[in-house]
């Protein structure tokens, strides 16, 4: 395949990333999607919009997030690496954001768009609850009513976040259809939206869904990669050799990767959730799926030969989704980004490793990225630099982890 002049020029004007992406929604939503696209195009060109976004990110979210050299983790990995091997591990600390994850970056951008469009009611879906909390947060900040759809299974395993959302004034609606996880919450969000098109803005939490969502979520999350690129140059005088990020829908990963896509020497690794193993229940749509159409876009999906969607599984509620953002599907097919998958067990090990070596309790989502870092760092020379996105903190996951480790709390 011929390499394009730039990897950063997607999507096309129909919202397609190669064969992926697009606008696969019911006709009722189509005019709304087109409105949103027009409004986003105008907002991008409006310095006042960008200024308000930047101001909120700085003073409300707490950006820029630090870039951190994980010295003790690096040393720990070197102990079990061959001589001369063991790359430096650095983290982009997006878990230090207000609300504890990268999700807030996107929510700030989208609620500013909602206000521009005169929408008076906000809905969102959530898996782990991080996007739900971030959405409830910006709704409280701007005084808009907020309804969060959350799979009943996730409600049960993410109780702290459910309580946070309620404290923030959101209504949390448990969704019982299907496996009662993120996919089903998204179905219910779309059902709400199609019935309330006049006044409602749907804040989608990942870089997926119908165009222009994959593009605008990526753009709002790209603050991660822009900051990291500048910080890395300032601190080390060079770019990192490898970027690593966990992928459910893929918003933290595309946010980190996108500003580096045209830096030919920077390799990138996206980490899907291999759950119980790729031959068992998992959530790795690239490793174990095929192209199809769901939730507004064409992308890789976990599905059977008739196109029925199969249930995803991951210990991490935030990765428990049978699809992936369309730009990742494209980046994988053209070979610009590599993708791998990490099991529940490997993620749990990495979770504990980071707790003990760095005094950082990571969320289970970036624990997948850390597990992949632990594997690849040992196979890279010591003078190489890995930059991983620490996209969320683990406070919300301590009950899940305790349960998996057989600890009664």
């Amino acid at each position: 395949m011929t390499a394009p002049n730039s990897f950063r020029a997607q999507p096309d004007d129909r919202g397609h990333f190669g064969q992926f992406g697009g606008r696969f929604v019911a006709e009722t939503l189509m005019p709304l999607i087109l409105d949103l696209e027009r409004e986003y195009t105008a907002a991008k060109a409006d310095p006042a919009f960008q200024a308000e976004f930047d101001d909120l990110l700085e003073h409300y979210v707490g950006r820029p997030s630090p870039l951190y050299y994980a010295e003790r983790l690096t040393e720990a990995l070197r102990e079990s690496a061959p001589d001369g091997m063991g790359a430096e591990v650095w983290f982009k600390r997006d878990e230090l954001n207000h609300t504890g994850a990268h999700k807030i970056n996107n929510c700030i951008g989208q609620i500013l768009l909602a206000r521009r469009m005169g929408k008076t009611r906000i809905i969102a879906e959530t898996g782990a609850g991080q996007h739900g909390v971030a959405t409830a947060t910006v709704c409280a900040r701007f005084g808009l009513p907020c309804v969060i759809y959350m799979g009943a299974t996730d409600v049960a395993r993410q109780q702290p976040n459910v309580f946070r959302m309620k404290l923030l004034g959101a209504e949390v609606v448990p969704v019982t259809s299907g496996a009662a996880t993120l996919k089903d919450a998204m179905n219910e969000g779309l059902r709400d939206w199609v019935a309330n098109v006049e006044d409602t803005f749907y804040i989608i939490g990942t870089a997926a869904g119908p165009h222009p969502y994959p593009e605008l979520v990526r753009d709002f999350q790209s603050v991660i990669g822009r900051e990291a690129r500048a910080q890395m140059l300032a601190r080390t005088g060079k770019l990192p050799d490898l970027l690593v990020a966990a992928i459910g829908g893929g918003s933290n990963a595309i946010g980190l990767f996108h500003p580096f896509l045209d830096d030919a020497d920077v390799k990138m690794l996206g980490v899907e959730a291999a759950g119980e193993g790729l031959d068992k229940r998992h959530a790795a749509s690239l490793a174990g799926g095929a192209p199809g159409i769901l939730h507004g876009n064409r992308t890789y999906l976990l599905q059977d030969e008739d196109g029925q969607i199969t249930e995803a599984h991951s210990i991490s509620a935030g990765l428990d989704y049978p699809g992936i953002g369309p730009e990742h599907a494209w980046l994988r097919d053209i070979g610009r980004v590599d993708y791998t998958a990490v099991t529940d067990t490997e993620a749990l090990d990495a979770f504990q490793l980071l707790c003990r070596t760095e005094g950082i309790i990571p969320a289970l989502e970036p624990s997948h990225a850390i597990a992949a870092v632990a594997k690849v760092a040992r196979a890279m020379p010591r003078d190489k630099v890995i930059l991983a996105n620490l996209c969320g903190r683990g406070d919300k996951d301590i009950f899940t982890v305790a349960d998996a480790l057989g600890v009664k709390m």
Partner: protein, 270 residues
């Protein structure tokens, strides 16, 4: 003239709207669908919409969601749906049947595969809920190449600027979704339907069938006075949900009440 065009023309000749009926294939089992389809025809249905079950029917309300899940739980496959259609065609050479469903099951093996398989099963057209006009190359082109109707949806949010794009490449009939929402829950005011149908008729010669939330003979009659067709889905699917494998007779009886109402509807006005 196609079976679809014939069905609408015949109804028009008889001074009534066509009765368009929806059931989910394979609900409650693939084997039970034939008797239910026969009951639709016996009760007086003019057009059959046969739903292809999908795990994620995100445009459907509770009734049709449940029907999708019942069908999939019974093991219904795409091959089963096509076999149900082919057997229907053998029993009912003249009753038009369109497949209705979501993009992923329809395009899993490629749009050409689906269009050709549907044509070979005697299907007259397809309605895909989540492929708008903007993504026509994902299915519409293949349907037209196979000689099948590409039935598009228009909604209360389809404004005058957008309508020509929706109509471009549409065939068979135009399905007007009278409510911005999911299936089965509410019905639009008759006045707003009348205005919408007039707007659509000014823009196309295709028959206009109106649906979403139609349950009672009175509602059907009210729409039948202004539209070329009345679509009923969730109410039938609820009967199937309640009566399961014994649903054929209750479905036939219910359809007959709708048909009687449609036959009488325009006479009452006149």
């Amino acid at each position: 003239m196609t079976r679809l065009a014939n069905a609408f023309a015949r109804a028009a000749d008889q001074g009534r709207a066509a009765l368009v009926t929806f059931v989910t294939a394979g609900d409650p089992t693939p084997g039970a669908t034939a008797a239910i389809l026969d009951a639709l025809v016996a009760g007086g249905a003019d057009v059959i919409e046969l739903g292809m079950p999908f795990t994620d029917p995100m445009a459907d309300g509770p009734a049709i969601q449940a029907a999708n899940l019942r069908s999939l739980a019974a093991g219904t496959t795409t091959a089963d749906v096509l076999a149900v259609a082919a057997a229907f065609r053998a029993r009912h050479p003249d009753v038009p049947l369109v497949l209705m469903g979501y993009a992923n099951p329809m395009t899993r093996r490629g749009p050409e595969w689906f269009a050709n398989a549907a044509r070979d099963a005697g299907v007259d057209g397809a309605i895909c809920v989540d492929i708008p006009a903007e993504e026509d190359d994902s299915l519409g082109e293949a349907l037209r190449a196979a000689g099948l109707g590409n039935v598009r949806l228009a909604t209360p949010t389809t404004d005058a600027v957008r309508l020509p794009a929706v109509l471009e490449g549409a065939s068979g009939f135009l399905y007007y979704v009278s409510v911005a929402g999911i299936t089965g829950l509410q019905q639009a005011a008759t006045a707003s339907i009348e205005a919408a149908v007039a707007r659509l008729k000014a823009a196309t010669d295709l028959p206009i069938a109106v649906g979403f939330g139609v349950r009672t003979p009175e509602q059907a009659a009210a729409i039948g006075r202004v539209a070329d067709g009345v679509v009923v889905g969730s109410a039938i699917v609820e009967l199937v949900g309640r009566h399961g494998a014994d649903a054929a007779e209750p479905v036939r009886a219910y359809i007959a009440t709708l048909k009687t109402a449609l036959v009488a509807a325009r006479k009452e006005v006149a």
